[in-house]
């Protein structure tokens, strides 16, 4: 009946694989349902906890759909040729949804304490996740752009969501202004690439460049440069990183966790889609540019992390330096590079959510107590929490027996395989410098006695962790350590996803 109706239409609508669409459909539908229920049901009937429970449930359900799709073992044309859920898309989708599932349990207590509207936050998180998934699966520059905007606009709002804190509004504004600015660059890039190849479909761009040798490739290359600006901004690659530390510090901490995990993962997925896959034949042109970005990012991230005195800001800059490491994998422009990038993304997403959750637990009533002095003597007040954060930080430093080591190892191995020895050197030197930053946090927790000022804090009740946040931290630490010992489980997944 429906089919007959459709056949009469003058337009041929594309084929839709509804199962393949589930990873996008579930989060967006979940968001809409939550929005509707929240606006109809009075809040005294429906406790705020349910928002987070619902978000968690939706994320898990979407993850299940990802697993089902993964079993299919073939590329899924989810919506015509516009959304393709291949191995990489599914893996990044899993990272995005996994980050959402990890952040959700920490929300109820946080929102209550800080006074952030939890329903709207959850709606935005789910919609941002949907956007991120679209980015990961996009097979067309227009779709990629729309997914990116859905995710980014939700992220701008979420960054500013702690309306009572001026820093949060500032974070939102900075992120927004610079985001809009870089979006203009990205769009100009899309226009130029479209002009040079006659299409916005990534597949066709790739095919076009494979079959034709452009006599004049200026437009294509200028377009790639602009695309690199726009996507480099999203992943916070220097010199397009300047928003990241300020926004990370100002935004509500769970949102920061999502920005470091899901948003970053989606950004890198787009970077791989556009550069490694569509523009793969022009790798010789863009690799040196990514090389320079990676070097700058590593240097800026690690050096600036080492001189901060605020735990959240240290983590923010370290996130920049991690972006540098992941760029090292992108720069390799090979399947093993992609596999390494995916591995790093998954590992870092978990570490980031874990570390920022610890910060969120300690951040106090206004979500602004994040200086190193608040961590002073944490080892005696909350030994388990201190140990957890220490492990996560060691993982960020790339100490063996943690997942961070294997992640760094594999991106650097990919770089060496691609003969980028100097990049490997820079990466390792920056890892040494960044170790300073992580050590400062550890030293603050273990070796610094809480001074007179913090004495009152010690007398005050210990920071309440809460069941949700506690479970998330434990899960993150376990994941980090387990992968450090037996990374093979995840490595085989990333290799499959990267088509190795």
């Amino acid at each position: 009946m429906m089919g007959a109706l459709l056949a009469q239409l003058p337009v041929q609508t594309p084929d839709v694989d509804w199962t393949g669409l589930l990873p996008v459909l579930l989060p967006s539908a979940g968001a809409l349902v939550l929005l509707m229920v929240r606006s109809l049901v009075p809040s005294r009937v429906m406790p705020a906890v349910l928002d987070a429970v619902w978000t968690f449930a939706v994320a898990v359900a979407s993850l299940v759909s990802v697993v089902v799709l993964w079993q299919r073992d073939a590329e899924v044309q989810a919506f015509g040729s516009q959304l393709v859920m291949d191995g990489m898309a599914l893996f990044v989708t899993a990272v995005v949804l996994g980050s959402v599932a990890l952040v959700a349990p920490t929300l109820p207590r946080y929102c209550k304490r800080v006074g952030v509207a939890s329903a709207e936050l959850c709606v935005l998180i789910l919609l941002a996740a949907a956007g991120a998934v679209v980015m990961a699966g996009a097979a067309d520059l227009i779709v990629l752009f729309l997914g990116l905007e859905t995710m980014s606009i939700a992220a701008y709002v979420m960054a500013a969501l702690n309306l009572r804190r001026l820093e949060s509004l500032e974070a939102g504004l900075k992120y927004f202004v610079l985001g809009a600015f870089s979006t203009a660059f990205l769009l100009f890039g899309i226009a130029l690439v479209y002009g040079a190849t006659g299409t916005t479909s990534l597949d066709e761009i790739g095919r076009h460049l494979d079959t034709f040798i452009l006599l004049r490739d200026g437009m294509l290359l200028a377009g790639s440069a602009m695309l690199l600006v726009g996507l480099g901004f999203k992943v916070a690659a220097a010199p397009f990183h300047a928003w990241a530390p300020d926004t990370y510090v100002g935004a509500p901490t769970p949102v920061t966790a999502l920005m470091a995990s899901a948003v970053k993962a989606a950004g890198f997925a787009a970077l791989i889609r556009v550069f490694v896959e569509a523009l793969g034949t022009r790798a010789d042109d863009w690799r040196p540019a990514v090389f320079a970005l990676a070097c700058a990012t590593l240097a800026v991230g690690s050096v600036l992390a080492a001189v901060q005195s605020d735990a959240k800001r240290i983590l923010a800059y370290s996130s920049v330096s991690h972006a540098g490491f992941i760029l090292v994998g992108v720069q390799a422009a090979s399947d093993s590079g992609v596999a390494a990038v995916l591995f790093y993304l998954a590992v870092y997403a978990v570490i980031a959510v874990g570390s920022f959750t610890v910060v969120a637990v300690l951040s106090g009533q206004r979500d602004d107590r994040t200086g190193l002095d608040t961590l002073a003597g944490l080892s005696s007040r909350r030994p388990a929490l201190a140990l957890g954060l220490t492990i996560l930080l060691l993982a960020q430093a790339g100490v063996p027996f943690t997942s961070g080591f294997v992640a760094k190892f594999s991106v650097i191995a990919a770089a060496v395989e691609a003969r980028s020895y100097w990049l490997a050197v820079v990466a390792m030197v920056s890892a040494v410098v960044a170790a300073f930053a992580y050590l400062r946090v550890v030293v603050a927790m273990y070796f610094r006695d809480s001074g007179d000022e913090a004495e009152t804090a010690a007398e005050a009740p210990k920071p309440a962790i809460g069941l949700g946040a506690g479970a998330v931290i434990v899960a993150a630490v376990l994941f980090t350590v387990a992968l450090g010992v037996v990374p093979g489980v995840l490595e085989s997944l990333t290799s499959t996803a990267a088509g190795l």
Partner: protein
């Protein structure tokens, strides 16, 4: 039995796991016993593996036990496997043997400490990591153990972390080692890039196909890593500070085992050194001998008993590197083994002394402890004579062998080596005289006493080893070269051959004996006689005859002391300063970069736009018009 070589690593790991789970419940002293038993079990396994390796034909004494696939990163797949060969088994034997004794000692030493069980958790984890380092069949696995021992060292140095200095020392060790580590990692990746594998046997099999430049680069980078771990110039600075940790840790990690890892690594990769340009081993030899001399000089000016031993360790490690650089791999391992015995002995002895004097480490407040602690004194004196190079104790034989090879390579190396030997004898004698002889300078409220049997038993065992270990590798005839013959399969015929005749060797040995004698005599003159002004008054002629004495006194009190203090000051200011300088320049760079992060959104936009222009310009360069 060879297939069960994994048991060597499994025992300390099991000990670690048990203590981690139940340590607090087991409490003191049971937690210590569990840890010690784990080490003893590991030692027994090592012995069994050793025996079954002995039972094989020398050419077949190389065996890889594959455990599981560790990092399957594309082509970069790394299996976790154990390489059982004479070299690794030798290392495993003395790591587990000396380790077990030190564990035993620590049961007594850590008595009453609030974190008794935690200490043994770390100690067993350290032993496990060290054994992974030694037995790993690839650079990657060795690196894993390498990092593991680094972390444990860090944890143990700052074990009593309530003390700010300890925390700083731990940090220093961590950072300095990271510097060396990236050398190691780069070497590893380079090797992989060149040969497609990081497994030792693959590397060695294809070493000949390497270009000499690549081999040189790999060797130098590995040496950078080794210099960090084995405390060579200029990366040694963490080791003296590391003495902040409990004394058994100093004995186990910072004297006997971990710090020798760098030497082990260099010996392990001898086929690569053989392919490298000739200047690479020369660099190793000269860095080694310079470290040896420098640290010996610094040791002369120390008053902290553990600092003297720390510098002495650095100095001895320098000898080992000298041996590596001159191709005397057997001598390097030989000295490593003998050094493990006598230095562990000296550290444990100093621990007993510190224990007896309620934690005081300043030798100026020691003296005349011989009577109060006879066992410690006797064993300590054995250790002293061994390190000073007095025949027939172990140190004499191993040091002599190194010096012979040094002479063979370049007499200049030998001269520096022998000067170091004189200084070594001098400062060690000074240590012994100030501690066990002279008059008591400690307060009346202190009552030094012999520690418990638990602590003296390991001392006696180590002293016995320090006496007889020279027998492992006697120079007289080829048949007595036990260690050399045993290690041969691991050295791939890369061992240098001495061109010296027997007579020349005897002569060199005599010179070094004379050196030891001069050193000890000097110390006697300075630190024993001049403490007895009465006797001087009685023998004015003798005092005149002791012109040497006055010279020494004046030299040591005047220019000599200034020189040594200069060395110490150089250490404190320039070298520490260089490390701090790296930190400072990072800080300065950070401060500069922070200025870019103005907080103004428009500045950030400008940065973004400038970046965009830069990228566009780059792509424009690549454009074909």
């Amino acid at each position: 039995m060879l297939e069960a070589a994994w048991l060597i690593c499994a025992f300390p790991l099991a000990g670690f796991a048990v203590l981690l789970a139940l340590g607090r419940r087991l409490g003191e002293p049971r937690a210590g016993w569990v840890a010690t038993l784990a080490m003893a079990g590991s030692f027994v396994c090592s012995l069994a593996v050793f025996a079954s390796l002995m039972g094989r034909d020398p050419a077949e004494r190389r065996f890889v036990v594959t455990l599981f696939e560790w990092v399957p990163a594309g082509d970069f797949s790394v299996d976790a496997g154990l390489l059982v060969d004479p070299l690794s088994v030798t290392m495993a034997l003395f790591v587990t043997g000396v380790g077990a004794l030190i564990h035993l000692y620590a049961v007594g030493y850590m008595h009453g400490d609030g974190d008794f069980s935690k200490f043994f958790v770390y100690l067993n984890l350290f032993a496990f990591s060290m054994l992974v380092l030694v037995l790993g069949d690839s650079l990657a696995l060795t690196f894993l153990g390498w990092e593991g021992v680094g972390v444990c060292s860090y944890l143990l140095i700052s074990f009593w972390f309530t003390d700010e200095a300890n925390a700083t020392a731990g940090k220093k060790a961590f950072i300095t080692n990271r510097v060396g580590d990236w050398g190691f990692m780069l070497a590893m990746f380079w090797a992989f890039g060149a040969l497609g594998s990081v497994r030792y046997l693959d590397l060695f099999g294809q070493a000949d196909s390497l270009s000499s430049t690549t081999a040189t680069a790999i060797v130098i980078l590995l040496f950078l890593g080794a210099a960090g771990k084995s405390a060579q110039l200029p990366l040694y600075i963490w080791l003296p500070d590391a003495m902040a940790g409990p004394t058994p840790v100093s004995a186990l990690i910072h004297a006997a085992t971990m710090v020798t890892a760098g030497v082990y690594l260099m010996v392990r990769v001898n086929p690569l050194i053989a392919v490298a340009d000739a200047w690479a081993p020369d660099v190793i030899a000269w860095v080694g001998v310079a470290t040896a001399l420098f640290a010996a000089g610094a040791a002369m000016a120390q008053n902290d008993i553990k600092k003297v031993l720390a510098y002495s360790t650095i100095s001895q490690l320098g000898y080992m590197m000298l041996a590596v650089g001159t191709g005397a791999y057997v001598a390097a391992i030989f000295h490593m083994v003998t050094h493990a015995f006598f230095k562990a002995l000296l550290f444990l002895g100093s621990g007993s002394v510190i224990h007896a004097l309620d934690g005081d480490q300043d030798m100026r407040r020691y003296g005349a402890l011989r009577a109060a602690m006879p066992v410690t004194a006797v064993t300590f004196i054995v250790g002293w004579l061994a390190i000073a190079g007095v025949p027939p104790l172990a140190g004499f034989w191993s040091k002599d062998e190194i010096l012979a090879y040094a002479w063979d390579a370049s007499p200049a190396l030998w001269v520096v080596g022998i000067v170091t030997a004189v200084l070594t004898a001098f400062y060690m004698s000074r240590l012994v005289f100030m501690t066990f002889y002279g008059e008591a300078r400690y307060g009346t409220e202190v009552h030094p006493h012999e520690p418990s049997r638990l602590m003296t038993a390991p001392l006696v065992a180590l002293a016995a080893a320090a006496v007889v270990a020279g027998g492992l590798n006697l120079p007289f005839t080829k048949d007595l070269h036990f260690l050399g013959a045993w290690l041969e399969p691991s050295l791939f015929a890369n061992e240098a051959h001495l061109s010296l005749g027997a007579g020349a060797q005897w002569l060199l040995a005599l010179v070094s004996m004379a050196g030891a004698a001069i050193g000890i005599a000097g110390a006697v003159a300075v630190y024993l006689q001049h403490r007895l002004p009465a006797s001087r008054v009685e023998w004015p002629a003798a005092a005149r005859a002791f012109y040497v004495d006055e010279t020494w006194t004046r030299f040591v009190g005047g220019p000599g002391r200034r020189a040594f203090e200069g060395v110490a000051a150089f250490d404190a200011n320039v070298v520490d300063g260089a490390v701090d300088g790296v930190g400072r320049s990072v800080r300065a760079g950070g401060t500069l970069l922070r200025r870019v992060q103005t907080g103004f959104v428009r500045s950030y936009a400008l940065l973004t736009a400038a970046g965009a222009v830069a990228l566009l310009v780059w792509f424009l360069v690549r454009t074909s018009f």
